[in-house]
């Protein structure tokens, strides 16, 4: 796999003065205003703010899932503003990992199959099974590899999702409130895992969180208020 080893101090994701607005009927809602943000390789950043302030929107744009209304976005050293969806997908492929608040595991796939999915979409990947098992081992769930999501607890499901996110050894990992659906103890365990895995794989980490303790652990800390960074 072509591993992009972006050294620290190297820009891996960046937004320059981006705005995001959506029109709903006659109204135009400005979700993000003039947001500039830079994430460096191998570092971690947190984004926090009250509900509805625009955290998820910003994360989606940073990850190339969405485009800003104006301003420049670059990911993995490339400007994505003029890319179409397929090109952006190709850019993400194998190099960007995601962890969602509601896990988003496929209910009909076993833990192992869910993790393998991330490798299956990468062209020419090999040893899919072995690497997926190894990733499950990293999150301590090797024994549950044949279980379906419905047979696992929320924390276990999120660990499977984490394994799926890091199995490709991504350059950057995006997490939107990864512990928002979990209890305190489980949250701590997941956070710990997430940080140490990113460290092990030299992956950058962008995490949206309400959790002050989690935010403090990050190298950078951003707070967003009504669509502006403060």
């Amino acid at each position: 796999m072509d591993k992009v080893n972006i050294p620290p101090e190297h820009v891996i994701a960046q937004t320059i003065r981006i705005n995001k607005s959506v029109t709903m009927g006659p109204e135009t809602i400005n979700i993000l205003n003039d947001v500039s943000l830079t994430i460096y390789g191998g570092t971690s950043a947190s984004i926090s703010g009250i509900s509805g302030s625009g955290k998820t929107t910003l994360l989606g744009i940073l990850a190339g899932l969405d485009l800003p209304s104006s301003g420049t976005v670059s990911l993995l050293g490339q400007t994505i503003n003029d890319m179409n969806e397929d090109q952006r997908a190709q850019l993400r492929c194998g190099k960007v990992g995601f962890v969602f608040q509601s896990f988003h595991l496929l209910p009909n796939l076993t833990a192992l199959e869910n993790v393998s999915l991330a490798l299956e979409v990468v062209p020419n990947s090999n040893q899919i099974r072995e690497r997926s098992l190894a990733a499950l081992e990293h999150v301590g769930l090797a024994a549950r590899s044949r279980h379906l999501p419905s047979q696992m607890s929320g924390g276990e499901q999120q660990r499977v999702a984490l394994a799926r996110a890091i199995v490709t050894k991504p350059a950057i990992l995006f997490a939107d409130e990864p512990t928002g659906n979990l209890d305190y103890a489980t949250s701590a365990q997941i956070e710990e895992m997430m940080f140490s895995l990113c460290k092990d794989f030299h992956s950058a980490l962008v995490v949206v969180t309400h959790d002050k303790a989690l935010a403090k652990r990050c190298d950078q800390h951003h707070v967003i208020e009504a669509g502006r960074l403060v």
């Binding site: 899932l65 993400r92 194998g94 496929l106 009909n108």
Partner: protein, 824 residues
């Protein structure tokens, strides 16, 4: 691929899709293949009546080129010449219809011979009498007292009488034109000296072979036919609904059609349910960086990987089922249907796959619309589910499929219109119910209230259930109603007291004594109809020879002699469709509809009839529709009494002779030697048997349709399970008892079933009234009792099946029902 298939199978929606394709395969396979066999059997039967698959018939010797062309196309060819001649033996002479046939006659059907010597009774043969021998129909052999191996003279030749014929293919002649017949070998014809260019004879070239060759032959010779030559094919499609066989074939098609439409609807339901989940998968793949094309490939592979085996297994199962059904029919009636052919099976598989494409394609197209960002927000993938494109594409596909399968636009449109109207009406009904219920039903704690509330608050789910129930019930009721109508009509067409003895060549002076004799023998109705043979000389005072007709058929008919009759009363089973029946002493003519069309005359025109050189002119005062299969003497042209003056005439009569007076024929022959008696008892017996067999076979087809409908219905309820599951969990967590929930669900299904059933019944009646009138040409009576029963059964089936298929959810712990991956 198989791994992917295994993964997919873990989803209940996918299993449902798989099952509905399987089901469509079974329905299409079983009903399609069985229907095809039935249809071919029916065609064979019509062929057997004709003695061939098709024939060219001419009043002059036929050109050799026709026969050569047929042989070149690989068709079997037989020839016959029919004419009237005197048969002479030592006891006297008789006028008889002579049929000289080539040795391979008949190509289809068989000749049934009377037992004699070591020949068993009812021996069937498929060859003509050997050279030098003749076989004669019962009446002839009885009236001439023919003995085995005695001599019979025909023209210049003397033949050996061999067999008595009980039944033979009628060869395209109407029942009444069946003069007592004698059968001889065509090779002997020349020596008799009976046929010369001037003689009145009918020459036939009969062909048989596969459909393809037949239609190529038809295409090749049709343009070459002279005006005195006519083509007739024993294809049910050409006779369509004019007769009972055509009606049965139409009915079978209808049954197949409905099964398939139901199966496709089930597939669409399953696909829509599946898509709700698949959208999430697509979004995840998108996040992980997969490109559209790869995603599409992945989906296509997994769907086709499932559909192909499902379709194949389904069709094979269907094949097995229809084989069993065929065997049952054979055991019950002794009729072996023709073997199954590949075509309908292949078509079944192809239709299954095409249905899948139609159902999945628009959904696949919308893959592009699924934004990866949707994973960060919940609820966005739901929009994909309400994919209008998908619904339109399924509708278009259903219309195309219906037209293809029905091969008849009226049938297809009636079925579809019925279904669409049913669905729309049901939607409206449910909406009205919701509004009313919301306004008038006060919240209270009862299962009844909960059921109404459940229907109201799940508008779209309720409407889906109700429309599907209705569509299914509608189809089944429709099929049931029509089935009854078709068979009632059939039975009525051959009542137990249908005439079984036809008397022809009755002299005017004999009518009264013959009538007396018949009445004394227990015959209740013995109407005598005058028969006056003549031609049409002029139409509106213009010589027919100088008239231009649009079709060659017209010329052919004009050149022919007609049987006229004089009647003062409109015969039963005749209906005047334009003009008026003879009222006073005004002279007038009444013409049969098709004849009027062919002759291009209508009420108000005048015709001049030529009877043996004497002309009679009268105005056409009415056009009649005649029911030809009523087994009564029927006439193309009826004159009011007196119009034909004292033109020479003899009489005919068709009477019902009770079984115990079977010997009446001999008495008539003895007392009135020149009256010809035609015994149709055996033919009628055969016709009745055919009706019974047809009825049995149709019941089997109907059962298939019913079974597939029931399965589709169960599948539909399965599709609703996830939302039910959430509901039950919610109710349980709020402390509702199992019994309470049970009652409310049961009530909900029963209520839905009742509403759906009632609307479906009303619509089914409307449609079947339309179908009966336009397609099957039958009268239609509303069967009130049956309708009430249908509604009751519908409600019962809906509530019991619906309840049984979600009963297992009731026993689960609420917490389990809420876990995201849990689907029972």
């Amino acid at each position: 691929m198989s791994g992917q298939f295994k993964r997919q199978l873990r989803q209940s929606e996918f299993r449902l899709l798989f099952a509905s394709i399987l089901l469509a395969g079974i329905a299409l396979g079983a009903v399609g293949i069985f229907g095809d066999r039935m249809e071919r059997e029916m065609v064979n039967r019509t062929s057997a009546m004709l003695g061939a698959d098709a024939q060219i018939s001419s009043t002059r010797p036929l050109d050799d080129s026709y026969g050569l062309k047929a042989e070149e196309l690989g068709l079997e060819v037989a020839r016959s010449v029919n004419f009237m001649s005197m048969i002479i033996n030592d006891r006297g002479s008789r006028l008889a219809g002579v049929r000289a046939v080539s040795s391979n006659y008949p190509l289809r059907g068989e000749i049934v011979l009377k037992g004699q010597g070591n020949l068993p009774e009812g021996q069937k043969t498929r060859s003509a009498p050997p050279v030098g021998s003749v076989w004669a129909a019962s009446q002839l052999s009885k009236s001439l007292g023919l003995k085995f191996n005695s001599s019979v003279q025909l023209g210049d030749s003397v033949f050996k009488y061999q067999h008595e014929i009980l039944l033979e293919p009628e060869g395209g002649a109407g029942m009444l034109r069946l003069a007592p017949r004698i059968l001889m070998n065509l090779e002997d014809l020349g020596e008799t000296g009976l046929i010369n260019p001037a003689s009145r004879a009918r020459f036939r070239l009969m062909v048989a072979g596969d459909r393809d060759a037949l239609s190529r032959f038809e295409a090749a010779i049709k343009p070459k036919l002279k005006e005195y030559e006519s083509w007739r094919i024993a294809d049910t499609r050409q006779q369509q609904v004019r007769n009972t066989v055509g009606r049965i074939v139409s009915f079978i098609r209808l049954a197949i059609l409905l099964s398939v439409v139901l199966a496709v609807v089930a597939m669409a339901l399953a696909a829509q349910g599946l898509w709700g989940k698949q959208a999430n998968e697509v979004a995840i793949l998108r996040c992980l960086g997969q490109q559209h094309r790869q995603t599409l490939k992945r989906l296509a592979r997994s769907y086709l990987g499932a559909a192909l085996p499902a379709a194949l297994i389904g069709v094979l199962t269907g094949f097995g089922l229809q084989a069993v059904a065929g065997k049952l029919v054979e055991d019950a009636t002794g009729i072996a249907l023709p073997p199954a052919s590949w075509m309908p099976g292949m078509i079944a598989v192809i239709i299954c796959l095409l249905s899948l494409v139609a159902v999945m394609l628009p959904i696949m197209i919308s893959v592009k619309q699924i934004p990866a960002i949707s994973l960060l927000r919940s609820g966005q993938t739901d929009e994909i589910r309400k994919n209008r494109l998908a619904i339109y594409s399924i509708l278009v596909f259903l219309i195309l499929l219906t037209v293809f399968l029905a091969r008849d636009l009226t049938l297809a449109l009636s079925v579809l219109a019925g279904l669409v109207v049913a669905t729309v009406l049901l939607w409206s009904c449910i909406r009205v119910l919701i509004v009313l219920a919301n306004r008038y039903i006060a919240p209270k704690s009862s299962a009844w209230y909960l059921a109404v509330k459940a229907i109201c608050s799940n508008g779209s789910r309720s409407a889906w259930i109700a429309s599907t129930f209705a569509a299914i019930m509608f189809s089944l009721i429709l099929l049931g109603l029509i089935r009854g109508e078709v068979f009632e009509a059939w039975e009525k067409s051959v009542p137990d007291t249908a005439p079984n003895l036809f008397l022809i060549n009755i002299k005017e002076s004999n009518t009264e004594p013959l009538k007396d004799m018949l009445v004394k023998s227990g015959v209740t109705k013995a109407d005598m109809y005058a028969v006056i043979r003549g031609r049409i000389a002029k139409i509106n005072d213009r010589d027919v020879a100088s008239l231009d007709f649009k079709s060659a058929e017209s010329r052919h008919r004009i050149n022919h002699e007609f049987n006229f009759t004089e009647l003062s009363d409109l015969p039963a089973d005749n209906t005047v469709i334009s003009g008026e029946w003879f009222s006073s002493d005004e002279p007038g003519l009444s013409i049969e509809r098709e004849t009027a069309q062919v002759l291009e005359v209508s009420a108000g025109d005048s015709l001049t009839l030529d009877v043996a050189g004497i002309f009679f002119t009268a105005p056409v005062t009415s056009i009649r529709e005649v029911k030809w299969d009523n087994m009564q003497p029927n006439f193309y042209i009826i004159a009011s009494p007196g119009v034909l003056g004292d033109a020479a005439r003899n009489y005919i009569s068709g009477v019902y002779v009770p079984q115990e007076r079977g010997d009446l024929v001999y008495d008539i022959n003895r007392q009135f030697p020149n009256v010809t008696a035609i015994d149709l008892g055996m033919l009628l017996e055969r016709f009745r048997k055919l009706a019974n067999q047809g009825s049995g076979a149709i019941s089997v087809v109907f059962l298939f349709t019913f079974a597939s409908a029931l399965l589709v219905f169960i599948g539909m309820i399965q599709a609703q399970k996830p939302s039910r599951q959430r509901e039950i969990a919610l109710l349980k967590s709020m402390g509702a008892s199992r019994k309470f929930i049970k009652n409310s669900i049961f009530t909900e299904f029963a209520l839905t079933g009742f509403i759906a059933g009632s609307v479906a019944c009303i619509l089914a009646m409307l449609s079947s009234w339309l179908l009966a009138r336009n397609l099957f040409e039958l009268s239609f009576n509303i069967p009130w009792g049956a309708l009430a029963l249908y509604i009751f059964c519908g409600t019962l089936i809906v509530s019991v099946t619906g309840f049984l298929s979600i009963r297992n959810l009731l026993n689960e712990l609420p917490v389990k029902l809420l876990s995201p991956g849990f689907v029972k």
